[in-house]
């Protein structure tokens, strides 16, 4: 399972293999994505982009 931010081209579209965690708006949400579905979702024409969660460090 991979955490990602997903941006879609169609309002409220959720690709198969993506489980919505937090909805930001109609075309953006955070999701848990099955690892074997990640490439498929990236290639989905209704998906604009998928940004896999990036580790962030504490700024001291």
């Amino acid at each position: 399972m991979t955490l990602a931010i997903v941006r879609v081209r169609e309002d409220n579209y959720v690709p198969d293999g993506a489980k919505v965690r937090a909805r930001i708006d109609e075309t953006m949400f955070t999701a848990a994505i099955d690892d074997d579905k990640l490439d498929e979702i990236r290639a989905d024409p209704k998906v604009q982009s998928v940004e896999v969660s990036r580790r962030l460090q504490r700024i001291d």
Partner: protein, 626 residues
């Protein structure tokens, strides 16, 4: 560091790239830092600082050095021709300080008494306009996304001992049926209050800040929260918005791939869970105005606001008025982590990359260039040998013993901004020295590139000098709606920039940071002490000063029946910024200037309806607006 015995037969001669005309103990401290070792912190100096005594030509010049946190000054009697001074200096800057023109000699010394912080005085939070209705931020919420909330510290409790926190979401905790977005656990105000009645409130609640270690004293989140919203009941020194309600998210990372020394004492979040943290805070706030403070970031990224986490933050802020997100600019100015240049038509450009000796950690470099251009990338080892040549759209690597130890990805047309990006990854243990990333023009119209090296506290690789220290703000700090904050030293009359405070602009040329605030040697709540304070420095200490100022302005406007939009908040921050310093209309590190709480509150008064009205309940108030 070494956990296994070292055989004498293994020892080989070594030389050090350290300024040698310096006290050997200082040289050793510098050498140890370059190897990723950290010294224990003390009550007066952090783990990355040394307490020093110096002979200088002028105490004033010594005090003006950005790197120096002054201690005492013993003036010469004129005939002597020098002053004796003490201070605390970041180990990373000892060599630079030793070579400063005013320094005659520099020695490690014993700790000394230091001055208190001046955040409240310098920002004007202690001298708000007469007749203001901020009530210390009572009509606003301060949200904090950080690490280590000491809910038992008296600065976050009311007179009756109850908590000022509305809730804490611990993203690390095991999930419950009511967990936000399916993970972590929320501790409600009533649960916190119940825990506060116990002898050990942290055990009772099942959450608390880490205990002090040899390397870190006082949790970061508690310190940050106090600057923004502490009431001073314990320490005697209130923060900027001392009556605001507080929401805290103990942020976690779903992805901790590092191991060994690199994770020691470190705290990580990730971009998805940061976005979820901020969404949760604003959901909890409802229609009550809320300023959220963030102290997370990383070096790599497009630096044009096009990452989805930045776009997500922008969208959340545009959805409703009364919302603001403030982010620390980062502390990477002097780290040598940014380079830029032009690849000429038909030519190539070399980017040097210095991997330190005995660096056992991974190194990562990220390059961004225009989507109009096509470039291939060649990687050369420290011996000058070409190792890989990667065409646009390709990814290649090198293996050792069946394990990939080098990887280069030349990605075309990022879906979020249309630009191209190159990632170069070197596994730990590869030879030290000067690696070269060579960009070859295939079809170049623009030619401009920017490169960033990822942060690595256990052995930071760098670009060769001279460094291009522009564009060193954090990778999530380039959005259009967030507010980014640099740091200066409010203890010195010149108000100098903090030596570490990162610089803008964004890669697409927008002005960030927007503002600066005191972030140098700030005294604020010390976790697990109930009522003590501790000193910390960083842009993380500057950002909450601005978050607190925004909470005051939001509270003032709310008390007058107005919920400020994010655009109005941003304008209130930048249009009231104070100059001298900075001298320029916008400075790459100060931003538009130094934050002014009093002027921001005056601005909020001007924006609010002329006839003051009692503060309505936020939900009703919002319905009355367009």
């Amino acid at each position: 560091m070494a956990e296994t015995p070292i055989s004498i037969d293994e020892l080989v001669p070594a030389s050090f790239d350290i300024y040698s005309d310096m006290d050997p103990r200082l040289q050793r401290a510098v050498m140890r830092r370059k190897e990723g070792q950290r010294k224990p912190s003390s009550s007066s100096a952090g783990s990355d600082e040394m307490v020093v005594i110096a002979k200088v030509t002028s105490a004033a010049e010594w005090n003006a050095l950005s790197e120096v946190r002054p201690g005492i000054a013993i003036p010469g009697n004129g005939a002597a021709g020098f002053d004796i001074v003490t201070g605390r200096v970041p180990i990373a800057r000892i060599e630079a300080v030793r070579q400063a023109p005013c320094v005659i000699s520099l020695k490690p010394a014993r700790r000394l008494t230091t001055a208190l912080a001046a955040t409240i005085t310098e920002t004007g939070a202690a001298s708000l306009p007469s007749g203001n209705k901020t009530q210390g931020g009572k009509h606003a919420i301060v949200g904090v996304v950080d690490f280590g909330c000491d809910f038992a510290h008296e600065n976050f409790r009311n007179a009756d001992g109850s908590t000022r926190l509305l809730a804490i979401w611990d993203q690390n905790a095991p999930a419950t049926p009511s967990s936000p977005f399916g993970f972590g656990r929320v501790f409600t105000r009533s649960e916190i209050n119940a825990a506060l009645k116990k002898a050990d409130p942290y055990s009772a609640l099942g959450y608390g800040p880490d205990r002090d270690t040899a390397f870190e004293k006082g949790s970061h989140g508690t310190h940050v929260m106090d600057i923004a919203a502490g009431n001073g009941r314990g320490t005697g020194a209130p923060g900027v918005a001392p009556q605001s309600d507080i929401l805290f998210v103990e942020v976690a990372s779903d992805d901790i791939p590092w191991s060994g020394s690199e994770v020691v004492g470190k705290s990580f979040g990730d971009s998805v869970q940061l976005l979820e943290a901020i969404q949760w805070i604003f959901d909890q706030a409802g229609s009550t105005p809320c300023a959220v403070n963030v102290s997370l970031g990383t070096n790599g990224g497009p630096h044009d606001g096009s990452t989805l986490v930045e776009i997500g933050l922008d969208r959340i802020l545009q959805q409703k008025p009364g919302r603001s997100v403030v982010i620390a600019a980062s502390n990477s100015f002097a780290d040598g982590i940014h380079a830029s240049g032009i690849v000429p038509v038909g030519g190539s450009a070399d980017i040097g990359w210095l991997v330190p000796d005995r660096d056992s950690t991974d190194n990562e470099l990220e390059i961004w260039y225009s989507g109009q251009d096509r470039m291939s990338v060649e990687l050369l080892g420290p011996n000058g040998r070409s190792l890989l040549h990667v065409q646009p759209g390709e990814s290649k690597g090198l293996t050792s013993a069946g394990r990939t130890v080098v990887m280069v990805a030349n990605r075309q047309t990022d879906p979020n901004n249309g630009d191209n990006t190159i990632g170069v990854f070197l596994e730990g243990g590869l030879p030290a020295g000067r690696w070269t990333v060579r960009l070859h023009a295939l079809a170049v119209i623009n030619g401009r590139y920017h490169a960033w090296i990822e942060r690595d506290d256990a052995g930071q690789s760098q670009f060769p000098e001279p460094h291009d220290n522009s564009h060193t703000i954090g990778s999530i700090s380039c959005g259009r709606e967030t507010i980014v904050v640099g740091s200066y030293d409010a203890h010195k009359p010149e108000l100098p920039l903090s030596w570490f405070s990162s610089a803008g602009p964004t890669r697409d040329g927008r002005h960030k940071p927007e503002i600066s605030a005191p972030g140098h040697d700030v005294m604020a709540a010390w976790s697990r002490t109930k009522n003590k304070a501790i000193r910390k420095s960083g842009t993380s200490m500057a950002a909450p000063a601005v978050s607190g100022c925004i909470a005051l302005a939001l509270s003032e406007a709310a008390a007058r029946g107005k919920i400020l939009s994010n655009a109005e908040i941003r304008d209130a921050v930048v249009s009231t910024a104070r100059a001298n310093p900075p001298l320029a209309p916008w400075d790459a590190r100060y931003g538009e200037g130094r934050v002014s709480a009093s002027a921001m509150v005056a601005k909020a008064i001007a924006l609010a309806p002329a006839a003051p009205t009692p503060p309505p309940k936020p939900a009703k108030k919002k319905k009355k607006k367009k």
